[in-house]
Symmetry: C2
């Protein structure tokens, strides 16, 4: 049985997330159907993480097992013929039997994009969070850095999925500006449900004077979700980088 990893990209605006329980269109399901056509039978796809409805992936890794003999370099083109334009398979790799897109993932980076301009930009709809009041990126960055390190992050997650532990390690959490676009980049060994969107909401609270950057460690300490900022909308969120032991899957 071959184990195949796919490097892909998707625009989440039209989907109810990577995976769904009920009858709604998901990226995973759409891809499984396309791969099934190419490989001549149903496949089960394991993704590197569950992105929410409306969340995007500039990079995503998923793996599946198949008996199909299709040459590995033919696979991306073949699958792309059967997927809609908002999902693209970029590359395919043969991976060892034990490889698992989520279990083998060492760390991930998400980026939250804020369009910070007086006027909305019609071309950022569902792609960045529109925030008309001028934001001070230095203050946002100071607030963001408070999340770095190993902490219990239950103050910035929403209840939804079960996890054994709510402790994670954030390798970096930084804010930078590129013209009217602000980016919060956060890299961690794992993420809790809605964690990046809650961190972003908390960082924006700091910009709005609703809390001070130096209040954040105590909010994490107390673990009280109501003290942190709101969960910002999904359209600004992108999975942007992934790290695996297998360096071919990086990037």
């Amino acid at each position: 049985m071959r184990n195949i990893a796919l490097k892909l990209m998707y625009n989440g605006a039209g989907y109810h997330g990577w995976q769904v329980q009920k009858n709604a269109s998901s990226v995973c399901e759409t891809l499984e159907k396309a791969i099934g056509k190419v490989c001549g039978g149903p496949v089960h796809l394991t993704g590197c993480g569950r992105t929410d409805a409306g969340v995007h992936a500039e990079r995503y890794i998923a793996n599946f097992r198949t008996e199909s003999r299709i040459p590995i370099d033919r696979l991306p083109f073949a699958v792309n013929t059967h997927t809609p334009e908002d999902i693209a398979v970029l590359q395919a790799y043969e991976v060892p039997e034990g490889f698992n897109a989520i279990g083998s993932c060492v760390k991930k980076e998400y980026t939250y994009r804020i369009f910070n301009s007086r006027f909305k930009n019609p071309f950022y709809v569902n792609r960045a969070y529109f925030y008309p009041k001028r934001l001070d990126e230095a203050l946002l960055d100071e607030a963001a850095r408070q999340f770095e390190g190993t902490h219990d992050f239950r103050a910035v997650r929403n209840v939804g999925t079960e996890t054994k532990s709510t402790v994670r390690t954030i390798h970096w959490c930084r804010v930078s500006r590129n013209g009217d676009l602000l980016e919060l980049r956060v890299c961690a060994n794992g993420f809790l449900y809605n964690m990046v969107r809650s961190i972003t909401g908390t960082v924006l609270y700091a910009a709005e004077g609703k809390l001070r950057p130096e209040d954040i460690p105590a909010i994490l300490e107390r673990g009280d979700r109501t003290l942190a900022g709101p969960t910002v909308p999904p359209g600004g969120l992108y999975l942007t980088r992934l790290w695996y032991e297998d360096e071919r899957l990086h990037g």
Copy 2:
């Protein structure tokens, strides 16, 4: 009676064009409703041109008459409160009684964007035309230049709207590449129905070896639509620049 011109921007993906006859959502209608709320009564909006379903505008001018006394600099913010995120009013101007967004327009530039990469990009859905085979921009540019000048353009229009004459002057028609993005920019004193999309289809025919750039003058001469290339999809088309005698409205 005040005559007010609005400079605006819209993402056409969700609309049946600037203006529609039947019961479908149009940019014009959406804006008229929003302005009506702000100005306290129905308004009639005149646009600088009729963009088709799915076509975008990075720049667009429209005007309307009103008795409302709302300060001119308050108007963009007020109208934006009532429009969806895919339509943005950038600025408002008091214009002379005789001003008319279409009649007073001196020339316009449209840009057609082609995403020319081996793999589709999910973030260009409805925003650029995906063309996977590598295109030679020098050849495309050579073909595009054949359209420059004053000609009868009936070979590159679709039947749909009546016009007295099918003669127009194209000031420039050029192709350039920026990474994976090709842009065909065409500026003219006026455009026929589907003219830019037919020109782009014809230029792509040249890239595909289905005609030679030097065949284009004869195609225009003969005025036979069937000799020119196909009408490419609307999502790649943007109204990008406008010129008026009133320089405030330029850009």
